[in-house]
């Protein structure tokens, strides 16, 4: 029997504001990529949502860094990020991405509203790698944290990107539905469009489920800390948020609602997208908070 008589535990490094930040950048990157489907890849059926998606992407990404500024201890020193640059640090990459990506979003959105197809396509093409990078780097932030086994996996950036696309599409479905229902002249919902979007979301949901499954299974086959982290998610304090809310309510139930023709109605698709957003929100919380749940020493 081992008993710890005295030990010092310092403050937690990442908190809820980091989780909120990851959630917001994820939504932004996802809805930006969705808006490029129409204007860059020529999927004309998604054209009606392009404008909504790009507005959401821009607004959300302007809010997101505020969460970071609340998190850091000395926000007025943020200019140091552009002056004392460490190219090995993902946060340094992020400080540039978080500057260029919203600027590009605004220019891209401007040309969409000006109906300038050529320039829209150009800035869309520039924006796609930026959108992937601006959320991928969040995955790299956690992936580089070698102290924590839950974070230090090569899957982390991919997992973040896929969940970003899922939550981005979910938000766009939600907003399109609300806009059509309450803020358009005839109050008619474009069911075909929402169904197409939901099917796209369902595909990414299944991919996300597979990535989470492989992440947890490989954690359970890992070193002592990795096994601890894996069991914490499956049976420990994070079992209900992780299994129940994130994966049960947030992924499996919406996937059923989307792919089963008998259960599928446009109203339920709205619910599915709401559940997905809720589930991804919990996913960010679970990843950030469970990662540093156990003391290191």
């Amino acid at each position: 029997m081992i008993e710890i008589l005295y030990n010092v535990e310092h403050q937690k490094a990442a908190g809820i504001f980091i989780a909120i930040y990851f959630y917001l950048t994820g939504i932004s990157a996802g809805s930006f990529i969705l808006s490029t489907l129409a204007y860059v890849f020529g999927q004309t059926k998604f054209k009606p949502i392009g404008r909504i998606a790009v507005i959401l992407a821009t607004v959300v990404l302007i809010i997101a860094p505020l969460a970071l500024l609340i998190h850091v201890g000395r926000p007025f020193r943020a200019w140091r990020l552009f002056y004392n640059i460490n190219f090995a640090s993902p946060i340094s990459w992020g400080s540039f991405l978080l500057t260029f990506y919203p600027i590009n979003c605004i220019i891209y959105g401007y040309f969409i509203f000006k109906n300038n197809a050529k320039m829209t396509k150009l800035f869309g093409i520039i924006g796609i790698p930026l959108a992937i990078a601006v959320h991928g780097y969040c995955g790299f932030i956690l992936g580089f944290a070698k102290a924590r086994h839950l974070w230090n996996t090569a899957l982390m950036p991919t997992l973040f990107l896929v969940s970003a696309i899922v939550s981005g599409i979910a938000l766009v479905i939600f907003v399109v539905y609300i806009k059509d229902r309450f803020f358009s002249q005839d109050g008619k919902v474009r069911e075909e469009l929402i169904l197409d979007l939901a099917k796209l979301m369902g595909g990414f949901l299944l991919l996300d489920l597979f990535l989470v499954l492989s992440e947890v299974l490989i954690l359970l086959a890992g070193s002592e800390g990795a096994m601890e982290a894996g069991w914490l998610l499956l049976t420990g304090k994070f079992a209900i948020p992780f299994l129940g809310i994130e994966n049960g309510l947030g992924k499996i139930l919406p996937a059923f609602l989307i792919f089963s023709p008998r259960l599928r109605t446009t109203n339920r698709l709205l619910w599915a997208s709401f559940l997905v957003m809720f589930g991804i929100f919990f996913m960010r919380f679970v990843v950030v908070l469970a990662g540093e749940y156990y003391p290191l020493i």
């Binding site: 403050q11 640090s89 946060i91």
Partner: protein, 188 residues
């Protein structure tokens, strides 16, 4: 630095000396002594693990710091520049030894600096000076005539969490594996 755990009596003097020397606010500790108790009567043991920044040869905090506030001096001491640190706490996320803390007043990240101001003046760090039993030995590990280097070579030494590849520079003689583990009672 070498910490000879055969000599450590767990008196926490190093902790107090460190806090006095570096004017550390309440609630945080750059250096502390973890204590564990194991076994059941009559076969028991209390083990001590004095912890402080390992001043690694390959520090993960150096890669993580976005503003280069954490840097390594030529003599190997890893230091945080209090004027450059923005308090993003990313270094706290990547450090496997959990020695970094948020300074409650300045809101920046701080940690043990090996008392670099004392080392520059030719003195020993406060914890070494204060250690009642001489368990802590400080010096240049690369100079073969120094006591640390001799102890490092002639004794079986161990570092904490060598598997992380950070190459820590705090060597322990007689390290107890159970004291390093974060797993508390009941689980094993």
């Amino acid at each position: 630095m070498i910490i000879d755990l055969r000599r450590c009596i767990g008196c926490h003097t190093c902790e107090v000396a460190c806090k006095m020397e570096n004017r550390v606010p309440l609630g945080v500790w750059p250096a502390w002594v973890k204590q564990i108790e194991k076994g059941s009567y009559p076969n028991v043991r209390r083990s001590f693990l004095p912890l402080l920044c390992d001043h690694c040869d390959n520090p993960s905090c150096l890669t993580a710091c976005p503003t280069n506030a954490t840097f390594k001096r030529k003599d190997g001491i890893v230091i945080i520049d209090p004027h450059t640190c923005i308090g993003c706490r990313y270094c706290m996320m990547v450090c496997p030894y959990a020695v970094r803390y948020v300074h409650p007043i300045q809101k920046i990240v701080q940690k043990c600096s090996f008392c670099s101001h004392r080392v520059d003046a030719g003195l020993k760090p406060a914890c070494v000076e204060a250690c009642a039993t001489g368990a802590r030995v400080f010096g240049n590990l690369l100079d073969p005539r120094e006591e640390v280097a001799i102890l490092r070579i002639t004794h079986p030494v161990q570092t904490i969490k060598p598997e992380y590849g950070t190459h820590p520079n705090i060597y322990y003689i007689g390290l107890d594996k159970d004291a390093v583990s974060s797993v508390a009672k009941g689980k094993r």
